[in-house]
């Protein structure tokens, strides 16, 4: 069952620019999370935003959540070559389940 869907599927920008990725989901959530995956490796947890929060920051990352539109965005400011990776949003199901459902990801490429 697909809950989160990222947009765009791929994004290529120049180093130093900002990168914005979007995520839409279908059902009520407790929280929404963003993960990064470097090529061929496991996922790394970046940030979690709760359903009663609208914005959250962590270093160069800014996440927003609009529960009325069932959407979230991840902004990476002042991008670096090391930010090249796939980024996934994940949502949990509101009925107490703790499993996460992942989107298909946005492939971000930072060009030097």
């Amino acid at each position: 069952s697909q809950q989160g869907e990222e947009d765009p599927q791929a994004l290529s920008i120049q180093e130093g620019e900002n990168a914005t990725m979007n995520c839409s989901y279908k059902t009520s959530i407790n929280n929404l999370q963003w993960y990064r995956q470097n090529s061929g490796r496991g996922l790394v947890h970046l940030i979690l935003i709760r359903s009663n929060e609208r914005e959250k920051h962590s270093g160069r990352l800014r996440v927003t959540l609009d529960t009325s539109k069932k959407s979230s965005s991840l902004l990476i400011t002042a991008s670096r070559a090391a930010d090249t990776a796939s980024y996934f949003c994940a949502t949990d199901v509101r009925q107490g389940a703790q499993k996460l459902v992942f989107g298909q990801g946005t492939r971000l490429t930072i060009n030097p």
Partner: protein, 113 residues
């Protein structure tokens, strides 16, 4: 440094073999999960466990089973491997309760020939 360790990075197995994928976490997490990741399909949940000896089916459990005899170890078993089970397998763990992130292992790339 806390982590989730998957026993193999790469595995090649023959069709019909019984395959064991092992996952160990050192964070005393209650929850453990097995996902598979395929191009164009994203991550799909196979099985998860909230406690020792407890398991629940995810979205695609067919052809798989799991075992959790100890809190730190969660094994994924392919009873009779098939070529359509060629995939990247990812193990993850998390604390019990809402609003916790997952810690993932590095993944096992399984090829069934």
């Amino acid at each position: 440094d806390v982590k989730v360790t998957q026993s193999s990075r790469y595995l090649v197995k023959r069709t019909g073999e019984k395959v064991f994928l092992e996952c160990v976490q050192d964070m005393d997490h209650e929850n453990m999960f097995w996902y598979r990741q395929d191009p164009g399909l994203g991550l799909r949940l196979i099985y998860f466990s909230y406690d020792v000896k407890m398991k629940e089916k995810g979205d695609i459990p067919e052809g798989y089973s799991v075992s959790r005899e100890k809190k730190e170890r969660f094994s994924l078993i392919l009873e009779s491997a098939s070529t359509n089970q060629t995939s990247m397998y990812l193990c993850a763990s998390s604390l019990w309760g809402l609003n916790y992130g997952y810690t993932f292992g590095s993944g096992t790339r399984l090829t069934v020939v």
